[in-house]
């Protein structure tokens, strides 16, 4: 394929990935990376490198909006980054070693498994309800002042919160970082898990803070993959531009769509991509 057509197709892929990623809340890289591998025949490490560039672009886009609206909790985000950043470095180093050991297929199978594992969580996400009672802060939470409040537009009232169970949340944060660095995805689902299930934050604060953190985790992973030669800007630039456009379009479209419609429309896309990536990893057509 010639460069012009290739860049245009990558841009369109990025728009689609950004749109789906924004509407499902999973981020564009989760869609873009398997499409690069399956449809474009891009080797996995280069696809992961390009994926991290899309993560950086979308995180800065949505992160800026959430910070401006003061929905991201800067303290809690920084607190968890102490776990997600080393996790991302470990994950990215793991990818480099596995590729050098010619275990790229194992990485593909693992990526497919991660994609399939995201499906039930994505379907269940809109059924979750946020408690209005703040959790009891633990020792670390009190030491670092990990508490706050935000104004909930839907309830028309301020919602106070305090971070609980900080130690297990740091563990989940490390895993989230490792998944991000290893597969080139944002790992937002895992970060939201750490923020919402363990720190017991309201869903909106958890989602906004996760978006805020994803960029720093992505930068850690990208710094390793870049020096290892797996971040190719000819792949990453059109994809990141398209993803940023798609994510912006998705965020405008989201209020007009019903949550359930969005999930049932795009979750099968995720499942098909997961199966395709696993088949590719197994060397099956």
């Amino acid at each position: 394929m010639d460069l012009l057509a290739f860049a245009l197709l990558l841009g369109l892929t990025g728009i689609f990935a950004g749109l789906v990623g924004s509407l499902t809340g999973l981020g564009g890289a989760v869609v873009a990376i398997p499409v690069l591998v399956v449809a474009f025949g891009v080797p996995f490490p280069e696809a992961a490198g390009a994926g991290l560039l899309t993560v950086l672009a979308t995180s800065s886009t949505s992160g800026a909006a959430y910070v401006r609206d003061r929905l991201s909790d800067l303290r809690i985000g920084m607190f968890l980054e102490i776990a997600t950043v080393p996790g991302a470095l470990v994950g990215a180093v793991g990818t480099v070693f596995l590729v050098h050991a010619r275990l790229e297929d194992a990485l593909l199978i693992a990526l497919g498994a991660v994609l399939l594992a995201l499906v039930p969580g994505t379907i269940a996400r809109n059924r979750q309800r946020t408690s209005t009672v703040p959790a009891e802060a633990d020792h670390l939470s009190r030491q670092f002042g990990l508490r706050g409040a935000y104004y909930d537009e839907a309830r028309k009232e301020p919602i106070a919160y305090a971070a609980a169970r900080t130690r297990p949340a740091l563990g989940v944060g490390f895993v989230a970082g490792a998944v991000s660095g290893m597969f080139g995805i944002g790992g937002g689902v895992f970060k939201v898990l750490a923020l919402e299930r363990y720190l017991r934050l309201p869903m909106k604060v958890a989602t906004a803070t996760s978006n805020f953190m994803i960029g720093v985790t992505g930068a850690a992973g990208a710094s390793v993959l870049m020096v290892a030669g797996y971040v190719n800007p000819v792949l990453g630039a059109p994809l990141a531009l398209g993803t940023a456009l798609g994510a912006a379009g998705g965020s405008r479209l989201l209020p007009t769509l019903r949550n359930r419609t969005v999930r049932w429309l795009f979750v099968p896309v995720l499942a098909v991509l997961g199966v395709e990536v696993i088949l590719r990893g197994l060397g099956l057509p």
């Binding site: 394929m1 010639d2 460069l3 057509a5 891009v42 280069e46 950086l56 672009a57 886009t61 800026a64 909006a65 910070v67 401006r68 609206d69 003061r70 929905l71 909790d73 800067l74 303290r75 920084m78 607190f79 980054e81 102490i82 950043v85 080393p86 470095l89 180093v93 070693f97 002042g145 508490r147 706050g148 409040a149 935000y150 104004y151 537009e153 028309k156 301020p158 960029g215 720093v216 992505g218 930068a219 850690a220 710094s223 390793v224 870049m226 020096v227 290892a228 030669g229 797996y230 971040v231 190719n232 800007p233 000819v234 792949l235 990453g236 630039a237 059109p238 990141a240 531009l241 940023a244």
Partner: protein, 139 residues
């Protein structure tokens, strides 16, 4: 206090002033615009220069690898090479969240939050270790 969208009153998470939030949001927005601007211009020039070249060649020979050396990057930028500017755009994209961490470090120390300032410094230190130690080691 009102949110910037004007949708209603916003209660600050913690006690950091609104200016810190504005500064962080601006760092992210400006970094993104600069990075995507450089990447868009560079990829447009690259495609304009050789629109019918094979995409397989661009996948197999990553132009960024050559420009990892700062001297080669400087020479490429001075010569107006699109590949050098693509590399610069990637650097700007990766640097944006790192600058955000530095901004957080400054804000926490400035507002007397020593514990959070130390934590932000530790995050920054780990990022630097990743960029300057771990990356070159695994290369």
């Amino acid at each position: 206090m009102t949110s910037s969208s004007g949708a209603g009153p916003t209660v600050s998470p913690g006690d950091l002033p609104a200016s810190v939030y504005r500064l962080m949001a601006n760092v992210l927005r400006v970094g993104l615009v600069v990075a995507l601007g450089i990447l868009t211009a560079a990829i447009a020039v690259l495609i304009g220069r050789s629109p019918w070249s094979s995409s397989e060649g661009w996948i197999s020979t990553n132009p960024l690898v050559r420009y990892l050396d700062p001297r080669v990057l400087g020479a490429g930028l001075a010569a107006g090479t699109p590949e050098a500017y693509l590399t610069l755009g990637v650097y700007a994209l990766v640097a944006t969240p790192v600058v955000r961490v530095v901004t957080g470090m400054y804000a926490f120390f400035r507002h007397g939050e020593r514990r959070m300032g130390v934590l932000a410094t530790a995050v920054f230190a780990v990022l630097l270790v990743g960029i300057f130690v771990v990356g070159p080691l695994v290369r």
